[in-house]
Symmetry: D2
Subunit: 103 residues, 4 copies
């Protein structure tokens, strides 16, 4: 099984609405802030386990964003491809990215 490319050159079937974009961006900005927060903890030589607890919180926030993107992708892009008779390839791609995520 080949790895997924970094840039497939494809586009989402249904463009994200401004509201959808804003929601994802808010979450990602919060995650960015958490990553900076950990940098500060390292600079201040804070207790290892406290830092690890924060890292695991970011991890879980990232997984939530990933899951919600995957959900939208399946409901829109994959379902659309299936309807057009191009489901096989879209589903294979979905399975690959799912596998990558569960690693």
């Amino acid at each position: 099984m080949e790895d997924l490319p970094e840039n497939s050159g494809k586009e989402p079937v249904t463009p994200r609405t401004d509201e959808e974009k804003a929601k994802v961006l808010n979450r990602l900005k919060r995650i960015e802030g958490q990553v900076r927060g950990i940098q500060k903890m390292v600079e201040e030589d804070r207790y290892c386990v406290d830092i690890l607890v924060q890292i695991s919180a970011i991890d879980s926030a990232l997984n939530k964003v990933g899951h919600s993107l995957m959900e939208r992708h399946t409901h829109h892009c994959v379902a659309d491809a299936v309807k057009k008779g191009e489901g096989e390839e879209a589903i294979d791609e979905l399975m690959k990215v799912m596998k990558q995520f569960s690693k």
Copy 2:
């Protein structure tokens, strides 16, 4: 089993050297950049799977940082606690954070 607190008020037994700090900070800055990169991808309405591939890359980078902090923590703080006869508590704490990570 209680959750680990966000701030335990504890400190690392052996302070991190400047070199150690720099190494972790470099990785975290790269991760911060990757999170910003994803924000740009969302703004540009890039293909869902391309974004997911990036999120899974960040996830794996975060886990590596986490693992290396946990390694240092065990070799220093936990081992030190064991030598002082205070190993039980330190090991329980380690097991909790490990469990949180493998979720």
Copy 3:
């Protein structure tokens, strides 16, 4: 989000062929054998890490079976539901089981 029921009363859209069944059953029998192997290791008081290595091997074998069932499910049941205009529910169910797996 509600949990998935233990028994949905549903059936696979396309019945599994004998060959497909045999393949999955073979893998599951091997996994059953591995679980029995670990029991023997525990009875013989074998080294903890050796047992853990085996448990992690079973874990990875189980995940492979799960992934291949999910793949077939998506290509058959989910794609079929989408074509019949009943994709929403099938995709929601798929996302739930995927989430459960990545825990």
Copy 4:
């Protein structure tokens, strides 16, 4: 980093008590029964998602057994090695098996 060997030839520092063995064996027998249960589900051509829910239940049961073995191992074998001044190797081994588990 080398992989951990299947059989290290080592032994647990403190032999498991009969009660400890019985507890782990009970869990493993239940897991064995669950694996056989899934085989039956496949033979009866049961719904894919119902099978996946069961697989994810086994996965989580296996992880619990693994975690409790790791806990005992750290409290006994690793702590003991640290006290004898042989902590480095024991901790490296623990970190490797932990990494393998979180995959």
